[in-house]
Symmetry: C2
Subunit: 382 residues, 2 copies
Amino acid sequence: MKLKRGKPKEKFSYDPQKVLKKLEDLAYKILEEVKAGKNPYFDVPTRGLSNVYFDEEARLIKLGDKLSRRYFLNVAHARKFMQTLILMAYVKRLVSEGKHASLREAYYANKHTIPGTHENTFEDQSESDPIIEDLERMLGVLREEMHITADRRGYVYGDIVIKDGEDEFNASKLGMGGWAVPGTVEHIQFPEINVDYVLVVETAAMADRLIEEKYPKRERALIIATQGQASRGVRRLIHRLHYEEGLPIIVFTDGDPYGWYIYSTIKQGSINLAYLSEKLATPDAKFVGMTMDDIKEYGLEHVTEKLKGIPPDKKGGPTGDYKRLIEELNYPWFQNKEWQRQLKLALKWGVRIEQQALANKSLEFVAKEYLPEKIREGKLLP
Amino acid sequence: MKLKRGKPKEKFSYDPQKVLKKLEDLAYKILEEVKAGKNPYFDVPTRGLSNVYFDEEARLIKLGDKLSRRYFLNVAHARKFMQTLILMAYVKRLVSEGKHASLREAYYANKHTIPGTHENTFEDQSESDPIIEDLERMLGVLREEMHITADRRGYVYGDIVIKDGEDEFNASKLGMGGWAVPGTVEHIQFPEINVDYVLVVETAAMADRLIEEKYPKRERALIIATQGQASRGVRRLIHRLHYEEGLPIIVFTDGDPYGWYIYSTIKQGSINLAYLSEKLATPDAKFVGMTMDDIKEYGLEHVTEKLKGIPPDKKGGPTGDYKRLIEELNYPWFQNKEWQRQLKLALKWGVRIEQQALANKSLEFVAKEYLPEKIREGKLLP
């Protein structure tokens, strides 16, 4: 199997004017209602599991079409109504001025006492975060498009040219460090791409191993280190590199329920962020390892570790790794024989295998044999 | 107070040959003892609090001169003796070949069953990590100099040219992302420095704020984001920028016991790593904020948060933030009126103040007023 860049399916879509237009349209609607003496309201797509489903065709976790109507003249709704308008005004200012704020800054910036009362606009960040999520759902835009940045984590190494504002640089010419992925990647462009695919790697130590072994150059791969669960910025970057630049996505994590969960989130999206799956998830992603079959295949029995938690057939179980494993066995997107086999083997053996355990063969092994062989022979999980 | 680059006090010192020489000298000593029919041994500086002290003059946490002798022909020592030799051989190979390994890889790579026995060389990483620390102490080198890399975290933004192997780039031309600090910075060089000082920032969100506000350019500052507790790589980078490049170091954290602990570790080193203070710590570092006095000075009373845990005068206390606060009150390096005042105010008021709370004034406030004013007026804590 030779990995090659394919045709793009999406276009660069960052457009602050579009976001401003949506905000203004919504605000004008409210204004008209006020002028007409009506009770103004927002229609907010309902959150929670009851309004989430797995779209088999698109292979994405998606948001349903249930709406909750939030009125101004309703004692139960008025506070949230006010908070929504405050944050809409704030986002408009951010986007107009080309500035970004973190969720925490957005909270602090908008916390004040309402004149003539002892009431605060927001008591806690747990009040402002959900309103920003509501705005994402109502407007159908990512909070990054509203210039509210997410936590940043993860870095990139490989032969592509990244353009961020006026700066342009090659992400394989930054020494061993690599480029730190910012909280928002909406505006990033890729004027030059000299790689055939993206290898997403769970741990920094493994990404560094591959960089040191010159894997990116030899295999024409772009390495993205997630450093644990992939941040929103990294997930959006993966999505864009696949859909806008046509790069195949291969994911490489530890062989354990947490690693597989990281893969699942990159591929299918998460239930919490179901309304964002179409922009954050990459259902075409494939999984190279680690798998339970790798343990036998590569003779790694003596460097496995025990799963944490209580197995389902023991008192108090399942907990820990076992609990997550059982959940994964039931994921709609893991209902195929390859994944069922790996998950059931993990349950049966009660072990996990780390990426770095491959160092037991030799430091080079992962870069010169394990990955190239598995990818060449197409030994990838769906 | 105008911050300016001063004279270097240390030189670029990375020299793999020096490390190899030390390893070989030690190995030859053992070999000679074996040849002479003697019982071979290592002298290992004793770990633990009993062998750690605060050097008032150097203002550093340092390791004392107590030694433990580890014999081969001693049932209680033989296993560790073997492990030490295994890891010495491994480090020699790494350094000779110019390769790096993580602590975890070093463990996996050296775990095997001793032929003819059921005994493993290492059962767990908790056996190999302390041996690597022993080697650091015995040889007086950082584990990074032995090519064992630490966890990587943190990024850098500002007008300096970084040279890593054949790559050279300006850390202010990488868009908003910045340069991801690698696990090992020993070999990094700085051919060009166009900044007057280093501003070390605890949170990524605040570092990103300052970058967006063009603080690095306007104030000729290099931003280093630690993203929580500073990684070893970041601490070594700060040390080198100060001692080899003469840059003043200013630290900016949340105004809470954890933020002050981050500062303390950058400045004085930590008890666990006392033997490394001379290479990792930077006693000349100064602290700009957040302080308890900032709360009144800038009218931030309504955006403080309560300290976590139980106060010392309540049943079960002190725990959480309060416990750390009490410890900090007793640190030798916080025995000055400025720090005692801040720590006691925190204890009295029971509150903390975050960096991002400054967004309550305006997004620009921190970059255009708070930091420039405090630094210009020299309102820095020792």
